[in-house]
Amino acid sequence: MERKYEIVEHRAELRDALVRVQRQFWSPDVALNTAYLEWKYDRNPYLDGPVIYVALCDGEVVGMRGMYGAKWEIGRGAQTFLGPCAGDLVIAPEHRNRGLFTMLTMAALNDLTKRGYTYVFNLSAGLATQFGSLTIGWRSVGPVQTARWQPRQSTICTGVRSYASRLPFLSSAYRRVRRYANRLLLLSSGDKRHPFSSLDSNGARHCREATAHVTIEQTPRPDAMAELVARIPRDGRIRHVRDQQYFAWRFQNPLAVYRFLLWEDARLEGYLVLRTSVVNPDRVGVSIVDWEASNAQVRAELLEAAVEWGNFADLTIWSSTLPVEAKTLLQNSGFQPLDEPQSIGRAYREGASRPTVLIRPVRDEMVKTDWVLAGRGLLDLGNWDLRMIYSDNY
């Protein structure tokens, strides 16, 4: 039987159904999903009210796509513009493969055209969304390289595991030994479900030293962080505005846990923000989502503190657009480029991730033109200063 779908704009009476359908994507907890929706869409500082498109089938909510507000700056004169970001695409399993992705996206673009926007972005598209988007006028700035740090014994274990998996008898014996070893590690490592426990205790111990410049806090300092960002000379690349308003809102995300490493002397000279997920933190790992400093020494000390105090199993950062000095610091600290497939097809086969930035003009007639703002091509990765904090995956 053919199903009839309708795309409508969000209304208050649909909210309960939306947070339930998002149990497939955000978290299994409806209260947490409600808090997340309220933070991201109701309290977003860049849009007046939630911009969410809802798919209905016979009056029942079966899917949604959100557009959350974002404010970008470009050029050395810091020209700013509002460019919403697509996110939170979810379609109930029994309604997939029926064209709802295209229906939701085109409804969003038509509406955003009426609202007067020029471009729309997506910094969190999964593989299927990436591919589907490319067929309806979106373009990719390019895959974003991720660099990853692991403790030395992890890289050795990874190599041993890879070798053992190719020898059937050994792989079985290896699995038994590994399970035993993991149980021993679990007993000795304390609270394995809190990725920041080592960072918090090591940081507290270090902060008591008289010469300590780096402290760890659980909440941001929006004023000081914004003042630092404003003080550091701009290179004109496209980036999200990071002012007091942004910092005050951004880290209230209820699906994430953050830690703020702050380097201070007379004033804040640098910060490094770590993030993990409230949902499955062990599986998600820890990421450096923002990292800013007034000089290279401060930048280096912040990274050293994160790596040495954190005792993390895994630490990642988007490294594509970092300055050369920062990339060198990462390399010297043991970060290596993650082997992410350049091809979407291969990523799909391997179940790998492939972060990318997607862009589209909201008007169809602009799709075949050059996509330029303030004289900079939007599809040139060299024109972007990309940080994980801009993406709603973090």
Partner: protein, 88 residues
């Protein structure tokens, strides 16, 4: 089985899985993308299938997918041109 036969079998399998039908005769020039017969997940699988045929990875960012992969004819032409350009 020829490349064409494998592609047709793949396309028909995906259409059956999604419950979609092409009204009229399905030919090598039936539009898969422009008609909405194929959605984003099917496209992922199609990309994987084409990469297996050419034994290489494709940077889809550089391709106008709707122009180059819309029909069986288009896909076969893509595969032939790729093989021709990459013969040693």
């Amino acid at each position: 089985m020829s490349v064409r036969d494998r592609l047709v079998a793949f396309v028909k399998e995906k259409m059956e899985e999604s419950g979609r039908e092409w009204k009229g005769e399905f030919t090598d020039d039936t539009p898969l993308l422009k008609s909405g017969l194929f959605d984003s997940l099917n496209l992922l699988e199609l990309a994987s299938c084409i990469e297996a045929e050419i034994d290489s990875q494709i940077d889809v960012v550089s391709i106008d997918l709707v122009e180059e992969w819309d029909t069986i004819t288009d896909i076969l032409r893509f595969i032939e041109e790729y093989r021709g350009n990459n013969r040693g």
